[in-house]
């Protein structure tokens, strides 16, 4: 009896672990199979480089969506990464311990807010702010539903992930490196600039990579504030249409138009591959640092 239970749970463990290990492959494969019909009609390069989006006529050009995705991601991370870096240095090098503990709670809460709530907040605060304040300030017309609004909401959403990782990176740097630098006559700030930042470099890069991959895939919150117009945005105050929003917005019609579902699955596949790439690159970097340390 005991043998039986033993082997049963052993078998269950094996099945479960292989299921998990093969899951990324299954996801990739599933999406490839579904996007095949479209890929048999059009070349991948053609789809990626075409800017005509007209599903009824069978034109599926991804370029406007790719550009929107890149713009939103770059602006969002350009805002959030420096902020996180500054805050992480402050928290780990200068701030009293209680503040670091308090910030851990802040980070947890920020990370726990559902993305649809960020979207609501974006509509209530960020969109009018961009439309009524920022755009006029730069002499631009904007409804507020724009690339910039999406990027601002995303910037806030990526903060908890990046900040959390950066704090860990800085906390893992041995205090002896700081001792060495100080004993050579450096001020505390010089020590941070020349030694702490350098020692943490690969960790910092990897936190940035995670932030970017998080930003690339975020869907609902961005979808709610970014405007969703298929076009090449001329400025950040124009509406954009990132890939995740494209997928999420058209699930209703996709079954009634030929190849539409195939196109959306291809979009999901693209997203999957890019995000995995950034993720793996980031993890690889952090692994390398923890091994050498």
């Amino acid at each position: 009896m005991r043998k039986f239970i033993d082997s049963l749970s052993s078998v269950w463990m094996q099945i479960a672990i292989w299921f998990v290990l093969l899951l990324p492959l299954m996801i990739g494969l599933g999406l490839v199979v579904k996007s095949m019909p479209l890929l048999q009609e059009n070349s991948l390069i053609g789809i990626l480089s075409s800017s005509t989006w007209s599903p009824m006529r069978g034109d599926f050009g991804f370029l406007p969506f790719i550009i929107s995705t890149i713009l939103v991601t770059i602006i969002a991370t350009a805002i959030s990464l420096p902020l996180c870096l500054l805050s992480a240095i402050h928290l780990t090098q200068y701030a009293p311990k209680w503040l670091l503990g308090f910030m851990h709670s802040v980070i947890d809460i920020l990370a726990g807010i559902p993305s649809v709530v960020y979207g609501v907040w974006g509509i209530l605060v960020i969109v009018p702010f961009v439309g009524d304040n920022l755009a006029p300030f730069f002499n631009a017309e904007s409804s507020g539903y724009s690339i910039l609004a999406g990027a601002l909401v995303l910037a806030v959403m990526t903060i908890p992930y990046v900040l959390n990782m950066l704090i860990e990176v800085f906390n893992n740097i041995a205090v002896e490196y700081k001792e060495a630098s100080l004993s050579l006559g450096a001020t505390y700030w010089e020590t941070i600039k020349f030694v702490v930042l350098k020692k943490g470099l690969s960790g910092i890069l990897s936190a940035f990579g995670l932030g970017i991959s998080k930003a690339l895939g975020e869907t609902i919150a961005v979808l709610m504030v970014v405007g969703n117009v298929v076009q090449f945005p001329k400025s950040v105050f124009d509406a954009g249409y990132p890939l995740p929003a494209l997928i999420a917005n058209n699930y209703g019609e996709m079954m009634s138009i030929p190849f539409y579902d195939s196109a959306l699955m291809l979009a999901a596949l693209l997203l999957f591959i890019i995000v995995i790439f950034f993720n793996v690159a980031a993890r690889y970097l952090i692994q390398k640092t923890t091994v050498t340390q």
Binding site: I5, S9, S10, W12, M13, A16, I17, V20, L21, L23, P24, I27, G30, L31, K34, L83, L86, S87, H90, Y94, A95, L99, M103, D108, I109, G112, I113, P114, S115, V116, V117, V120, W121, L124, V156, I159, L163, T187, W189, L210, S213, G217, T219, I220, M224, P244, I247, A248, Y251, L264, M265, A268, L271, F272, V275, I276, F278, N279, R283, Q287
Partner: protein, 283 residues
Amino acid sequence: MMNRKKIEEQFFRLLMSLVTASIILVLVYIFYIILKKGLPSLSWDMVSRLPEGGYYFGKEGGILNAIIGSFYISVSATFLAFIIGLPVALYMNVYLVRRPKFLTMTRFVLDALWGVPSIVYGAFGFTIMIYFGLRTSLLAGIIAVTLLIIPIMIRAMDEVLRTIPKGLMEASLALGSTKTETAFKVFFKQALPGFITAILLSFGRGIGDAASVLFTAGFTDHIPEKLTDPVATLPLAIFFQLSSPIPEVRERAYAAAVILIAIVFTISLSARLLSKKFKKHQV
């Protein structure tokens, strides 16, 4: 020279404190706005009634369908993720500790899965649905959310198990029990509070996610009766009501956001309290 160095340091210290303060302020501001907008239209009807005829034009009713639907999906998905995740976490910490390369690779895969956007899980869930000839349904929603929270669940349980001393396992092995029994009994007892935290964490993530259920669960005004019925979810209820042109409906979206936040934070607060308690009892 000395002075310039000092000024630079002072400047950056000020800047860094401001950034930290502004992060805290943003969090406060998000809560302030959502509560300010949502509380006025929050009512008992919202949480206790189904949408009635004309609800989406501002008439009577509530979003009980979405609240129940979200719980159906999240509870079942958490349960499934636990059943799959527990053996994996145990396997990693009982068997794989002796194969560090394989263990590192497993953690690597889990981290990668953790980073996959929920819309991709939604799309993948959709391909499974099509493959099995399913329509948007409770079952499909459960599958998509399960996949989404499996990596979260396993990594959280893995962190708990890693802290358990190896000697514990070896000691109980010496008493003559077979390996799997050791795994399930000793580890499980030691790790229980941490596991509850992991479960609550995954549940909170599952109930708040919209993109994964968008394709798979559908939306309906009714409470589903079977696994193949479509089902409404709270995040989608917020999303849809917010796109309505009618102000009353949009205000209910804000109220629904308050409900969602309340649920998510009740869960994460209990997770925190439990994990604190857990840490206290650790040797």
